[in-house]
Amino acid sequence: MKILLVDDEKKFAMMLSKRLALRGIEVDYVFTAEEAMAKVESNKYDVAILDVKMPGIGGIELEPKLKALVPGMKTIFLTGHGSAADFTAGSAEAAYYLAKPLQIDELIEILHEVTQ
């Protein structure tokens, strides 16, 4: 399983990717939407983990662009804006939302779920 992590919080992105790597998951991390789009052109990812709120293009805006480039890639959103349940309404359907701070086990579970 190969994952692209997009989050403007650099240290957070780094730490999370280290933790995922420890669990045997291959992770590339970038800090902006532009970097992400550049990344998917040269790599194939199963899942993209996108931060909802980023300077410039945010996760929700980025998702359709990435999907256009890589059809079939799954998306998980990360949000610092409260619980995922609060956030589901009015946005892309069937997407997964996780609230920061994350529970790593929950994230792993969802990753397995989306890639099955």
């Binding site: 240290k11 420890l22 956030f87 920061k100 701070p101």
Partner: protein, 593 residues
Amino acid sequence: MIGRFRQLLGSLRPEFYHRTSEHLNPYFTFTDYRKIWGVGIFLLAVTALLPLMVVTVIYYQLIQKSVDSELILRTERVASNARRAVTFFLEERLNALRFTVNEIDYGRLTNPDDFAELLRNLKLGFGGLTDLSVISHAGIQVAYAGPFHLEGKDYSKQAWFAECQNCNFYVSEIFRGYRDLPHIIIAVKSFRPDGTHFILRATLETERLIQTLSSYKTGEHADIFLASRSGIMQTPSKFYGDLFEKMALPVPDYSPRTQTVMAADGQGRPIITGYAFISTQIADTPFILMVTKQKAGMMGVWLELRSKINWLVGFSIMVIIIVIAITCTFMVNKLYLADKAKAEAMAVMEQNNQLASIGQLAAGVAHEINNPLALINETAGYVKDLFVIKEQYSKDDELLENIDYILEAVARCGTITRQLLGFSRKFDVKIQRVNLNEVISDVLVFHNKEAEYRNVNVFVDISKDIPEIETDRGKLQQVLLNLVSNAFQAVDNGCNLDITALPEGVNKVSITICDNGCGMPEENLSKIFEPFFTTKERGKGTGLGLTITYGLVKKLHGNISVKSRENEGTEFIITLPIHLQEEMRKDENSFGR
């Protein structure tokens, strides 16, 4: 009995008098409604009653003046008429004597037969004469006609004789004299051809005079009499002394005309006195004519009328005051109720504003904290991963334990920030038809075990009249779960928890969650919906449960209120609309405008 009366009085007192809403004081436009009420009654009463009283007083004074002047006029008229009559009485007789001495010579006058004839004729002509006598210039009575034998009597030493010699005419006071009968003497001086003079004297009966005076007496409160200039009663009076007694009134000052004065008599009764000093054209007399009228008696009719007017005015004043008091009470109470409603609305609005602004602040803070929190989480997680997955430090339990403390703390912070954000964010409501019975049962499932274990009696009473309601099931569940959890925390083992639901009007339902637990003091009641307010031990509660509940109820277009008494229990009442969709549409429309 007194207690009951007080109770009745208390129930009659208007609402503003009880001052039951002290806690709303800062929102009231006016603070002292009792004062407003008092001042209102006073001002209205003064405005209404002052003109009435002033007009009444002016009216009384006018009437008094007019009655007084009427009395004075009438008294003066009587005195004037009586004066003329008395003057005429005396003048007529003096003129008769003057005529006699001018017409009849001294010789005939001293002839007893002629003199007796003269007396007879005078009696026939004028009446009221007792006797006639001729007195020589030496004061010796030389002729006498009458019932007594007074010939030869010597008057030379008497005062009247001297005065008559000086003034040519004389009118005496009324006196008893030798005859011991009240009488007046009048005398005229005349000269004989030889140059000597003599005096013709007549004695007048007083009855005629008294009769003349009596004919002017008017009414039981009036009196008319003659007094001498030295204040001796000359005719009997009803009120001021008998014949020859000292007059019980002061002797008036001399005046050539008829006068009227208002004064009090010896007994303090206000009287009007008309008086005239009697003086004929021929001679002055010692008489003062007195006419008195007692004001009280004469004004009886007016006083009676005044007493009736007083009663009427008094009654009117009472009615006016009662009407003013009732009107003022009603108006001030209405004002108070309107002000109270406004104050309540303001208090609620302020609480909402406070909650909203605190919510916004909290959300901002939470969001800012979330990112560093996420970093701490991942970093600590990574360290733990190193221990657990890489097994480098897996033997060091203490280190692992400490890492877990960090992660637990982060998880707790995460819960708080999520709750804060959930409270402030405007997320959509998913409307569905919900059966209240089911929702409440679902909620109670979470607490069944605890209820059994702690022997808490849970009573659920859902009215059969309640239809399915349109609402967000999840949010309603969360609301009820929060309140039921709170109730379970508040009650002791073996206590009761009642959940009832009733229709409220056509469009609303109310759900009441009532426990008989520890309750809370009044000062906490106004704060319980504020964020971070908690009475639980540090670390046990976030102080956001009821804030979120409040926010959720508001999102469901409902209301939540609380009543509580310390050590007696707490009651939360939630009212929710039955047709939420309709309510939201109305809201949108009103915002659209």
